[in-house]
Amino acid sequence: MKATVDNGSRRRLQIGGVFDGFCGLSRGVIAFTPNRFDKRPDQARVALIDDEAIRLSDIKPDAGGRSYTARFEVLE
């Protein structure tokens, strides 16, 4: 019997004024720790992931408040 182990992946993410670097990606959720501070993370609406435009939603801080997660969909 086999199980699928999904360890997610790391992707290049650019959120203007919030983050530029590698995020974690797992099952439609990204996780990142802001490294730009020109905008509140929860105000971000669009981003680039591996140079593909995405729309962000459901942006929430983690329990410690340092990192954030967000759901996304690819903009056509």
């Binding site: 182990v5 999904d6 995020c23 990606l25 797992s26 591996d50 983690d62 329990a63 340092r66 997660t69």
Partner: protein, 167 residues
């Protein structure tokens, strides 16, 4: 979701099919999350499920150790875990190299009692000194999808939270 898979390519996901063992779980009580009866709730306070139990024992990034989940509350007395179908690391873990160990020496396990499942964790060497693990550390979610022995079978996917921090 389909659009995401097309856009990023399934090959871009770090996903493996690994053999599942059967035996006595080696995770201690402080490394085991016991699921409680759930109530309907909407939304989450973070990217992790709002009622996911937090395992008592933190994980140091240098550790290589098992963590288990106890599904008893979801199973009838004569019902067991028949299959462990998928184990998923959360995005917060993927971001800093926290992984479910796929070394065949440490396979995911279904407990002989049929109520618990176990997986080993490891942190990629490149992330051992990551600042995210300092202080209070970070919470990562590990989701277990099981299929039960009931006829017809039932499937449950539940998440446990492990705190990863420098010990």
């Amino acid at each position: 979701m389909l659009a995401q898979l097309i856009a990023f390519g399934v090959e871009g996901l770090i996903s493996d099919d690994v053999e599942v063992g059967t035996g006595t779980v080696t995770a201690g009580a402080d490394q085991t999350a016991v699921l409680a009866a759930q109530t309907a709730s909407g939304g989450t306070t973070s990217g992790l499920p709002i009622d996911a139990p937090v395992v008592k024992k933190p994980f140091d990034p240098s550790d290589r150790a098992p963590y288990a989940i106890d599904f008893t509350v979801h199973l009838a007395d004569d019902e067991t875990i028949a299959e462990l179908r998928r184990i998923t690391m959360s995005a917060s873990g993927a971001a800093v190299g926290v992984q479910i160990d796929t070394d065949p020496v440490r396979p995911p396990l279904i407990d002989t009692g049929g109520k618990k499942a176990e997986a080993w964790l490891i942190v990629d060497d490149a992330f051992q000194a990551n600042a995210a693990f300092s202080g209070a550390g970070i919470q990562v979610g590990i989701s277990f999808l099981i299929r039960t022995s009931a006829d017809p079978y039932r499937e449950y996917e539940r998440t446990i939270i492990v705190v990863v921090r420098q010990g």
